[in-house]
Structure formats: C-alpha cells, structure tokens
Amino acid sequence: MTQIVIANYLGSGRVVFLAKGSGNGSVSWGELIDTAEVATDEDRATALLALAEADVAERNVVMDPYLIDVEEEGGSLRPTKYREAIRALGPTVRQDLGKQAEGAEA
Amino acid sequence: MALLERKDGAAAVIEDRFTRVDDEAALPVGPVIVSLSRFQAEREALLARDADLGVWLDSDESPSEIAGDLGKLAVVACNFPAFNDGRGFSYARLLRERHGYEGEVRAIGEVMLEQAPFMARSGFSTFELGDVSDVAEFKAVIEEVRTVYQPTGDGRETALQRRLGR
C-alpha cells in the first residue's frame, strides 16, 4: 500500500498534502501531490495522520486531514480513487483551473 | 460552567442556586432541578418541599407535559443533546407564548454562544454556555444583529412595528 495525507488550508481552502520531511516535531504542507510524504505501511500511515491531526489542533493552518491511496506512475503520484484524483488536479471540465494548471509554475 | 442571564436588556453571570439531581440520587437540601420522569413519579413530594423546584425537559419532551404545574416551577430547563437539535427553540416559545410561563427558562446541554441570540429571542432567560464565560462577549453577541423581523415573546420591537410606528 501507498498512502499520503490530504487536507485543506484553513484560510484559502486550497487542497494540500502533508509534505515530505514532515515528522520529528516539524510539519509542513505542500500544494502539489508530488511533494507529499509517502507511507508504504500501515504504521507509517497512522503516524502521518496523527501528525497531521496534531498539527490541526496546534497550528490551526489546515483542516479535515485524511489518508488517501496513491500509486506511483512515471515518477509521479496519482490517487487511485477518481474523486481524489480530481481533488489533486482540479475540475476536469476546467483544465485551466486548479493544480493541473498551476503545476508548471509551482 | 458559567450560567449567563439575559434579563431586561442586561446581561450577567449569575450563581446557579439550583442543584441538578440525577434520577436515582437522593435529594439535597435547597432548590433542585429534576428530570421530567422524576417529576412525574414524585410530583407530590417534590411540590411539597420547602424549596424552589425546576424540571428539565429533554429534547423529545414537550412543555405541554407540565403545562398544569408551570405556576409551581421556578425554572424549566430545555436540554439540547446536540447543538443542531433545535426542538428546544419551539419549547421555549410555547412556554412563554402559549403557556404564559414567566419563570426562568434555561438552555442546557450542547449550547453554543452563537446560538444564544436565537435562544434569547425564543424565550430563554439563562444559558449554560460551554464556550464562553465573558459577560461582555455574551452581551455583544446577543445584541449584534439589531433588526428583528419575527414577533416573538421576547417583546423586542420588530422591523414591522418600527415601520408602522414611523
């Protein structure tokens, strides 16, 4: 299994991912899925979610974190559920909006 | 938990004179609030005590159950088992406007500060608020929206009355 933590920024509402390097008392969030910290076993996944939830309570910058399943595809992460794939990219009917449009510049 | 009171346009933190008594517990001396079922089971004895009496209604217990005894009750508390269980709003209005009850109507349970304005308008006079104990904040929130459209038992002048009075 491969999982990452997805959430929303409190202020902007934008979708964010628990970023690589989070742990050991430091937590950061990134807007692009490829910057996400990946868990490949259940214990690690549970630990990442706990980290995210603690950050919700402590710093109050994100909300509603939860785990999603992802696959690696050509060096990129992709959610396995289509709902989460749409969240990670943006509306399929407006390819000019959302992360799919911002990927290059970010 | 703080007990806040809203009375004649003023707001205050007040001391709770009442002890809320579980159904099985022995009655302490002094004013008590009991459940509806206990009140119904021990009505005579409770009314014969030499202290103020209150009844708390759960959200599925209508004030019509105690309509005949309201004159003998110092407080009726309406319990909100969850903030979104809004039956208590109707009960408060019925207590005030249908049954003419003039005693204390208390909001207990999952009561949020931000609901207090609706509660006050519905007829509640005291509030057990979990998320605030600051009177100034309570008062500010309660009076935040100055216009009211609905005529309720709280006697506040509605937009319509002010329009007609112009």
Binding site: N8, L10, G11, S12, G13, R14, V15, V56, N60, M63, D64, K81, Y82, R83, I86, R87, G90, P91, T92, V93, R94, L97, G98 | S59, S62, F83, N84, D85, G86, R87, F89, S90, R93, R98, M112, E114, Q115, P117, F118, M119, A120, R121, S122, D131, E144, V145, R146, T147, V148, Y149, Q150, P151, T152, T158, A159, L160, R162, R163, L164
Partner: protein
C-alpha cells in the same frame, strides 16, 4: 423590485459584522472547525472538493443590473472569473478564500444582497416564477409574498436549527415554472369562492433519496394568514421531524410517517392558536411591499411589431430564437426574453464576468434594468419591447448569448457534480457537455420540448427525478456510472421519473439518450411532446430499444 429600508440594511450589515467576527474567532483558533461549520453554513459557505464555495442568495431569482454587475465584479475580484447559477435561483462561487468572505458579503450588502440561509438546516432562499410580474395569467405578483417570506424567515429564532433544510416556493398562477410541487412548502396563488385571493398550500414535496410530490393540506388560505400558517407548519415539523436519521429528516418523511390527515390536523390546531396573533399581516405592510413590485413604466404600445416580424421573415436564426427563447408578456407590445447561458459544450449554469456584465447592460437598455435567474439555470429579461427584439438579439449574439435552445434537448439542468462537489458520486458536467454538443439545433427543434436533468448524486440538486430524461451519477465499484430515469416532470403536472434499468458508463449513457430520442420520434403522434408520448406508451418501448429486451 424590493428596495431595502433602513431596517433591512441594518440587518444585512450586522450580519456581515457578525460573520467577520465568527471568521476571526475561527482563524484565531478560538473555535474548532466542528463548531464553525454550522456557522459558516448559515452563511452559505461550504468546503468543497478544491476549495470553499460561497452560495449567494438571489431572492426569488430577481435582480437588477447593478446587482448583476456586482456579481460579475465579485467573480473577477474574489474568484476565478465565473459563477454558477443553480436550480434554486442562487449563484455559487467556487474559489473564495475564507479570509475574504466577509469582504465579499460586505460588497453584496452594498447592493442589498447576502448569503444568509443559503445552506444549513433552516429556511432557505424562497424561490418563485421567473416570469413573475410579466406572466400572462398571473393573479398577483408572487414576489410580494416571497419578500414577506424572506423577511419572516431571515434569522428566524425558532426555525434556524430544523431537522433538515427547508425550501419554500411560491407561484402566482397555475402554470408552474418554479417546481412548487417538489418543495417542502409550495404555495400556489388562487382565488377563493368570492374572488378573493389566497393560496393553495402544499407540503412535503421534495427530491433526493426519497422523492415525493407535495400534497395539498389546505385548499385555500386567505392572504392575511400567509405567515401564521407557515409558522404553524414549521412548528409542527420542528417538533415532530426525525432527528435520528438525516435521510428521514425532511418534512416529506414527517408527513408520510404521520399521515397526511393527522399532520394536517396538527398544523390546523397549531394555526388556530396563532392565526390571530401579531403574525397576521396588516394591510399596510402588504401594501408597502407590494408597492415595490408595481409594474415598471410600460409604454402603451400596439401589440403588432412589424420590425420584429420582418426580421423573422428574412432571418431564420432570429425566427428560431423568437420561437424558443421569447415568451408572451401580459402587456401589449412587450415580450419576455430568456437568455440561454448554455451554448453547446459549456457547463450549464456557469457564466463568466464579461457576459454577466453584458447582460446587465442589456437589462438597462431593454428591460427596465431587471433580470431574473431561472431554476433551469438561465437568465430572463422580463420586460422587453417587441420592436426591440431584433436589436437585443444582435447584442446577445455578439456575446454568444443568443443560443436558441430554451426548453430543448441542450437546455440541460445540471448540478456541479464531482468536478466541484464534495458529496458527488460521479461527474455530471461532462455528460451535459457531451449531450449539448451532440445534436444540431435543427435536430433539437425537431425533437421539441425536452427536459434533461442531471445530478451527480442522490441529493438531486440537478432535479433528475423530474427530468423527462433524468440522469443520476452513481459510484459503482469505484467507477463513475449513470442511472437513467424516464417520465419525470416539474411542471403543474408534476411526476417522478422511473428508473429504466441497469446503469451505464459515461460513454454508454450518451448513446442511451440517442436511442430514447429515436424511439420517441418514431412513436410520437402529431405534435406530441416526449413526456406525453412516454405517458401514452409507457416504459417498455424505450426499454426494448435500450437493452434489446423489455
């Protein structure tokens, strides 16, 4: 249209201040998301798939050019340049920031608009006939009563934490363009025995998981009891409605489980106790509000319109637009114009800032600055001089707003679905886009009246139950799938569609619609509309064609 007085202004401004304070408390961490959620929802602020979503009320669908310009400005300044008109005559912005929502609400308050009660378990924005004040056989402008209801329901102390959301629709005539029969309360204006005006009161209509057509609980309600009767219904519902299961919490289930007779008895009993209270409407106040809805200064015009007729004779495109998008007005020499904001291939209901401003311009130039948003997600100019129709058509065409498809196959009702909505099971917009591109206008005109309605989940914001063809997105083992229903209608002959059979993939569902339309064209008699053919021949012929067997 209604103009706020100082009391209405003060309320909306106070509400902005209140929300600003609530947002600050949230940002500072004084209240948790759990505590904040009901507060933001009471101001129409959702958290959706990609971001927050703000739903702004367009009370009973009426707005003026100044308000439309403000909506365009907000789209540009605070969002990504567009908004989505909904089936409840509201507008949704898909990308607002929490920190900026108080500013958006302050901007709205400037033009007498707000987002109060566009979500949450409270009385929602009251909806009405988009032709109100212009419709031919209208008894009275229903917006007078919508505005009375709006004020009464705004921050109602008793009914802000109901078992579930509560939707009210009011019409002024027997032609139902507001889907009154699928609302929690539907009020249909009618005349009593002595010619006096009142309402037929329906309760318990609704779509979603268990759809119901509303039932009449009172044949005639005199006008002055309009509010007390609604208060009685709501009070009974607030106490009786189920709170243990959110799928059974709507009043339609309360009515169903209590039984219509008993429910009606309880309402009437409650009403007896309050009908002569202060809720009884004084004539003075009704007149004050009615004065705001006095007709605009229509000119005395002849009914024939030679310029318009000759253009129609020489320009088939204009003629088609006239036939499909323009309706008769109650006043000689005037017409009602429906602007289709659904050109082929575009998401239904989505409009960007520039066309919004163009429509505002045109409202100023042609329609006494008035516009309406319709429950089929189009925009209406209610009072256009017939002789001006050619000029208006040309202006509309310049902005890509002259698609002559109102009431046709491509005039699809469609919810945002999984492209935006956190509750969705499947996408709905791509299905609509595919269908709107599929048929030429000629072909659509040949097919005639047709309501296709698409929802991305069982909540039915896209009204699929009452589509002649209804399409519902479902999740089948992790794949987007679509269920098809036939025979629904949202008009005065309201009916709920029936599921035709097993579901389809997105590609298949498009072909299914082809087959349904072909079957209809083969079977129809004379000028019969799809819904009438369906009612005459039943499900089987359609089923046979789609599945190869009945």
């Amino acid at each position: 249209m209604y103009r706020y007085d100082e009391f209405d202004h003060a309320l909306v401004q106070d509400r902005v201040t209140q929300f600003r304070r609530q947002v600050e408390r949230r940002m500072k961490g004084e209240i948790s998301e759990e505590q904040f959620r009901p507060l933001r929802l009471m101001n129409g602020l959702y958290l959706q798939l990609h971001a927050y979503m703000l739903r702004v009320a367009i009370p009973y669908g009426t707005l003026d050019s100044r308000q439309m310009r403000k909506l365009a400005y907000i789209a540009r300044r605070y969002d990504k340049g567009y908004g989505h008109f909904t089936t409840r005559q509201n507008i949704q912005y898909n990308w607002p920031k929490l920190e900026e929502t108080p500013d958006i609400l302050a901007e709205l308050a400037e033009v007498e608009m707000h987002a109060i009660q566009t979500s949450g378990n409270c009385i929602r924005n009251v909806t009405s006939d988009q032709y109100a004040g212009a419709a031919k056989n209208e008894i009275e402008d229903p917006r007078i009563w919508c505005e009375i209801a709006r004020q009464w329901s705004t921050l109602h102390p008793e009914f802000s934490f109901l078992p579930r959301k509560f939707k009210i629709a009011i019409t002024g005539c027997e032609n139902d363009r507001a889907a009154v029969k699928v609302h929690d309360i539907g009020m249909i204006m009618k005349r009593g025995a002595a010619g006096e005006v009142g309402f037929e009161v329906l309760v318990g209509g609704g779509l979603g998981r268990t759809p119901f057509v509303g039932k009449t609980i009172r044949e005639f309600l005199p006008k002055e009891h309009f509010l007390s009767y609604m208060e009685a219904i709501l009070r009974v519902y607030n106490q009786l409605g189920r709170r243990d299961n959110k799928y059974k919490a709507r009043i339609k289930v309360t009515l169903h489980e209590t039984g219509k007779e008993e429910f009606t008895r309880l309402v009437e009993e409650e009403w007896e106790a309050i009908k002569d209270s202060t809720l009884k409407l004084p004539k003075e106040e009704v007149d004050r509000i009615a004065a705001h809805f006095h007709p605009p200064a229509w000119k005395a015009l002849p009914n024939d319109a030679p310029t318009c007729d000759s253009r129609a004779a020489s320009d088939p495109e204009f003629a088609a637009w006239l036939r499909h998008n323009v309706e008769e007005h109650k006043t000689a020499g005037y017409a009602i114009v429906n602007i289709s904001v659904k050109p082929p291939g575009e998401p239904p209901g989505d409009v960007t800032d520039v066309p919004m401003e163009a429509m505002a311009e045109m409202a100023d130039a042609y329609s006494f600055s008035e516009l309406r948003v319709t429950h089929v997600q189009n925009v209406t100019l209610p009072h256009v001089e017939k002789e001006q129709l050619p000029a208006l058509f040309d202006d509309l065409a310049k902005h890509g707003l002259a698609t002559a498809n109102v009431g046709l196959v491509s005039d699809i009702i469609c919810c945002p679905g999984l492209d935006y909505c956190a509750l969705a099971n499947a996408r709905s917009i791509p299905v609509a886009q595919e269908l709107t591109k599929r048929y030429t206008l000629e072909r659509q005109q040949e097919i005639g009246d047709m309501q296709i309605k698409i929802s991305g989940c069982i909540n039915a914001c896209g009204h699929h139950h009452v589509g002649n063809i209804g399409i519902l997105g479902v999740d089948r083992k992790g794949e987007e799938h679509y269920q098809v229903q036939l025979g629904g209608s949202a008009s005065e002959d309201a009916s709920l569609g029936k599921i035709i059979g097993r579901g389809f993939t997105q590609d298949e569902v498009i072909e299914v619609v082809d087959k349904l339309l072909d079957t209809y064209l083969e079977l129809r008699e004379g000028e019969e509309a799809f819904i009438d053919t369906y009612r005459r021949v039943g499900m089987n012929p359609f089923k046979e064609r789609v599945y190869g067997t009945a």
